[in-house]
């Protein structure tokens, strides 16, 4: 059975390997950046509203903070209750150019012991896992990976 790789949300990220990017939008009038993407209206209260153009976010940022999840999160997180829970690490990364903080799961294998606030991380393609109700579907996502740490 061939697996279908489906983004967990559409149009939030795109590309392969080195070209993988988070996708946001930018207001053509005031230059405000939005992630998750804002396609309907500019949320800057000082802006009368401009065209919202898709923009790729910076690939690299610095760790603002981090934690992990020692217990299985509730639905709608997709995880198979038949399998033992494997904690994952969560990283909040600060992007200098966009002046914003973006959350993401760390690449598998990275634990809180590997991380420090201020450390450089880069965005890479990631896998959330198979859909427990539809095992032919694999949900894809983005991960933060410490720069210099092998995948």
């Amino acid at each position: 059975m061939s697996r279908v790789r489906t983004p967990v949300v559409t149009r939030w990220f795109d590309g392969e390997e080195e070209d993988f990017r988070l996708l946001g939008t930018r207001c053509a009038r005031c230059a405000a950046v939005f992630f998750p993407r804002e396609d309907a209206f500019c949320r800057n209260p000082g802006c009368s509203g401009g065209e919202l153009v898709e923009v790729a976010l910076s690939r690299r940022g610095r760790v603002w903070s981090y934690t992990d999840g020692r217990y299985r999160p509730p639905a709608p997180y997709l995880s198979d209750p038949e399998l033992p829970w494997e904690p994952y690490t969560l990283i909040a990364a600060e992007l200098a150019a966009e002046r914003m903080v973006v959350l993401g799961q760390a690449v598998p294998g990275v634990t809180v012991a590997d991380l420090k606030v201020g450390m450089e991380v880069e965005v890479v393609p990631g896998v959330l896992g198979a859909d427990p109700e539809n095992p032919s579907t694999t949900w894809t996502t983005w991960n933060w990976r410490p720069v210099g740490v092998p995948a």
């Binding site: 950046v33 949320r43 969560l90 606030v117």
Partner: protein, 396 residues
Amino acid sequence: MTGDVAVLGVGMHPWGKWGRGFVEYGTVAARAALADAGVDWRDVTSVVGADTVRGGYPGYVAGATFAKALGWQGARVASVYAACASGAQAIGTARAQLLAGLADVVLVVGADAAPKGFFRPAGGDRPDDPDWLRFRVLGATNPAYFALYARRRMAVHGETLEDFAQVKVKNAALGALNPHARYRTAVTPEEVAGSAVVADPLRLLDICATSDGAAALVLSTLEYARRHSTAAPVRIRAVSTVTPTYPNTVLDLPDIATDSAVAARPAERAFRASVAHAAYEEAGIGPDDLSLAEVYDLSTALELQWYEDLGLCGEGEGAKLLRDGATTLGGRIPVNTSGGLASFGEAVPAQAIAQVCELTWQLRGAAGARQVEGARAGITANQGLFGHGSSVVAVR
């Protein structure tokens, strides 16, 4: 003060896991508040309910649900939802009606029967809901956010796990003195350190539980209070329900990212500090005038953050304030004399109302073993998901 309303009565249903419905809890709290006020339910001209979302339709129309349970008597009604700030918005709604002359005595009720385990979003596929998305995409629970804040404080301010544990030790000791609290036993730093890690660096005992519980207030105009021969009632002097200002640059539950600060300069005060600032401005007082504060200790580390956001100390000095003993009973500014969420657990629509119950008991000098001597003014602070400010100032 023209903006004041009187707190005639306060009431609670004890918090815990009782296995019954929120209407029962709310009705018990409401009857207790009415009895405390000495007001007949049939004389109440407006009832405001803080909504209980998990209760389905009866929960979404909480004001009318409590009015029906107490016996329909024709009062004006409102139901409000603002996540953890629901109780503050209910108080704000009641106060606006009183000040506008639309009602002269208002019953405010919040009650919940919380599910076990992590809070989770409502069911269904809702990819346009940020709360649904953070679970779906990241599995980011509420404790995960508390842990991100805690780790950040450790990195920026040098706080330690021991500092966090000490908040729990303080609040558990105060909760042990409160008959309405769910947890009424002292906790040691070793017990906090020995509890399971939920989201590094936070342990089970650093994070508040979910509870069943209810709280209610009877509020009136000062005129009504005088006629009712309540000579010097506790007064609510300010209710802050402000929203953030763009760009909101502190990662907030349930968002996946902060606003970008590229196109607009961030406000001088971050959101939590702006909630308190609005309350101080409205009340015409400052942090130095306070006798006590009730803050949202969803996690131990978050209580330290509130010290700074309320202006009880400078930025980065929260742990020092705690270590100096300033925030415990007998200190310069006792915080969470009720025992806080550490001792109560979350019952979402009830908690902001419960904070005002505690201020009222303290300002009346009726808080028993946890009494702050000579209490004259107090503030509450919390924050509702999706950008709801919540802060109340009460004075005597």
